[in-house]
Symmetry: C2
Subunit: 383 residues, 2 copies
């Protein structure tokens, strides 16, 4: 039978047809004038998406690589750093900074909690750390923190702020310059609607100053070498040329839609998903608030294993959602809605979840989720 | 006017239509069963191309990143290493190892010279270095060394050998297991006929043992973490999914042609290019020998600037060849012929070079190059 596939994970996300087509074009040379012009335009578009006049550095690596670049370019071995964690990605940056020999002070929340600016400020003062890491959108839980407030707290404490915006950039506001974010890390494969393979880091003036004294060894991820090349539209080593072509095309689509409209659309998608989930009688794991526009984490009913929901959606309906990390594996599943999505991607997923859970004998309200989701989407967009 | 493009650089190289098509397919999730099966098959094909039963690790990074992985996984800061250099890429690995705080002992040749196994053996004994870096195909000069002999010399000296095979793997023999190569580094964008974005490193048993004691900090490029994930068909962070799909398809094409046939074809392409170049009265910079199957470096006639040849080929004929690095920029240009090429790609380039040089008033033999190249290609293939 025809097997249609639906990618509803919070990354990689589906790629628009125009961007797929760009991926099928013949490779061009990375030192020629065509590529230089393309790279310059792509960086300009990235600056616009990041809302910064400063530098955006583009790496051929996953988001993890771009985050590593922040550690090795900003810190010296043994240096104290404050890492805020409330999920799998916060934990990853702690593991990475520890691997690089940093003195990692943790501000740890339960998974699913939302980090608070006042805690960040207090812990920065208490530890004297000159650098803080925070995850804007913790993809493992669906929590999006109040980044503006946290950035203010970091500034008041005199610390640089490094932001994991891998799943948030392009979906919810990330005001790099206006909020004074020193380093914003993101990847191509989430709201930027591009296949994985590229990642980026913005670098503020203060971060550049700090990096001049950072003694950690680095080469592939060295910022200064990369900036010097990018300023000429080039790169120190061969970049993922085809993915750059695709990213440039995807950024064109995103900027044509308009960032503000994209933010509204994502907020509405999140609202639609949450309302649909609640309408069928399920409980949310991620917060029921407008910022939760990236991924909706849903608790399964008593007696159902979330891993069976993930497998069932995939095998019965061709729908890929994400499971829970670690201890949450049996208890939650996660529906991603960042990037190339409209409300009908959400309703497709809700209809399949409803059908699957009814089969398991779970007590589910039938027929309510889809129409409630469409209604909530329209309401959210003021339609 | 119609502007056809010809990519005749030694990387990135043109991608076959089947591989381009694969690049235009919708993204799949990197934790699902489709991707796991694909990744396992792709790694099995890579083992076949690398002629190894050991591990092949696949990175989302350029070849420079994979080479960095060898440094940080094998060496501890301050450790002595012997680096063999006869060109730009040998120099790059020296710069990288120095950035990581290694005690780099150099075995340095003039650019264009061919490293000799006896020198490598003698310097290893003299320096006591336990690790040697060698570039198999120095893309900046067109020189391909006798890797088998150098590997023997390293073994006799009891040193691990790390090989930059970025431009050689798939074009000329690289017998990882039979020659006892400890680490072979390569990239997707050369003879493997795939867009850039992925790179690989083979790791021998001895290299794994060494890596267990290597104290350099590492995370993104950590071998052990990557192997543990790859064994399950997964990766520690999101890989360049689309490029993996393309690499898998390109490897299928390469293995269908057969490695031995691919080696013969590349040797014949090199011979064709050199014979054509000589037939028009030009002088070779790269050695006139069968191993020079990767890139043909050509000296320009007296009074001609090689940079003008590179620009002229591009602007007049849409042909991208490579210029010379550093001091060689004015004196040589380089024609790449690794990957998706047959003899008519070479003759197209020779016809354009001939036409361009005649216009400059250089003393060039007209009408000989193309037919001589075709003849040499047929002779080389025993046709």
């Amino acid at each position: 039978m025809l097997a249609k596939r639906y990618l509803m994970s919070p990354g990689p996300t589906p790629v628009p047809p125009e961007v797929l087509e760009a991926g099928g074009r013949q490779v061009i040379h990375h030192r020629g004038p065509d590529f230089r012009a393309l790279m310059r335009r792509c960086l300009e578009r990235l600056r616009e998406v990041c809302r910064t006049e400063g530098d955006v550095l583009l790496f051929t690596a996953s988001g993890t690589g771009a985050f590593e670049s922040a550690i090795v370019n900003l810190l010296s071995p043994g240096e104290r750093v404050l890492a805020v964690t409330a999920g799998a990605f916060g934990d990853r940056w702690i593991a990475m900074a520890s691997a690089y020999g940093m003195d990692v002070q943790e501000l740890r929340y339960e998974w699913g909690e939302t980090p608070r600016a006042e805690d960040v400020g207090a812990r920065l003062v208490e530890t004297g750390a000159r650098t803080a890491f925070v995850v804007h959108s913790e993809t493992s839980t669906g929590v999006v923190c109040d980044l503006e407030a946290i950035a203010r707290a970091a500034q008041e404490a005199g610390a640089l702020l490094v932001v994991d915006a891998v799943s948030s950039l392009g979906a919810v506001p990330v005001e790099t310059d206006a909020w004074g974010l020193d380093v914003v890390v993101s990847g191509s494969q989430k709201a930027l609607m591009t296949p994985p393979g590229l990642s980026l880091a913005t670098v503020s003036r203060a971060a550049w100053e700090r990096s001049a004294d950072a003694a950690s060894p680095r080469y592939y991820f060295d910022w200064a070498k990369l900036r010097a090349a990018l300023e000429k539209g080039s790169t120190p080593s061969t970049p993922a040329v085809s993915v750059v072509v695709q990213l440039d095309e995807a950024l064109r689509l995103l900027l044509e839609e308009g960032l503000e409209h994209a933010f509204s659309r994502h907020a509405a998608l999140g609202r639609a998903c949450r309302e649909g989930v609640k309408a069928m009688g399920l409980t949310l794991f991620s917060p029921d608030e407008d910022r939760s526009a990236i991924v909706t984490a849903v608790r399964v009913p008593e007696g159902v294993d979330a891993r069976d929901v993930v497998l069932g959606l995939r095998d019965r309906f061709g729908i890929t959602v994400a499971g829970g990390h670690g201890d949450l594996a049996a208890r939650i599943f996660r529906i991603g809605h960042i990037g190339y999505y409209d409300v009908f991607d959400v309703t497709t997923t809700l209809a399949a979840v409803e059908s699957l859970l009814v089969e398991t004998g779970a007590s589910i309200e039938r027929g309510a989720a889809v129409s409630r989701a469409v209604e909530a989407y329209d309401d959210a967009l003021g339609g």
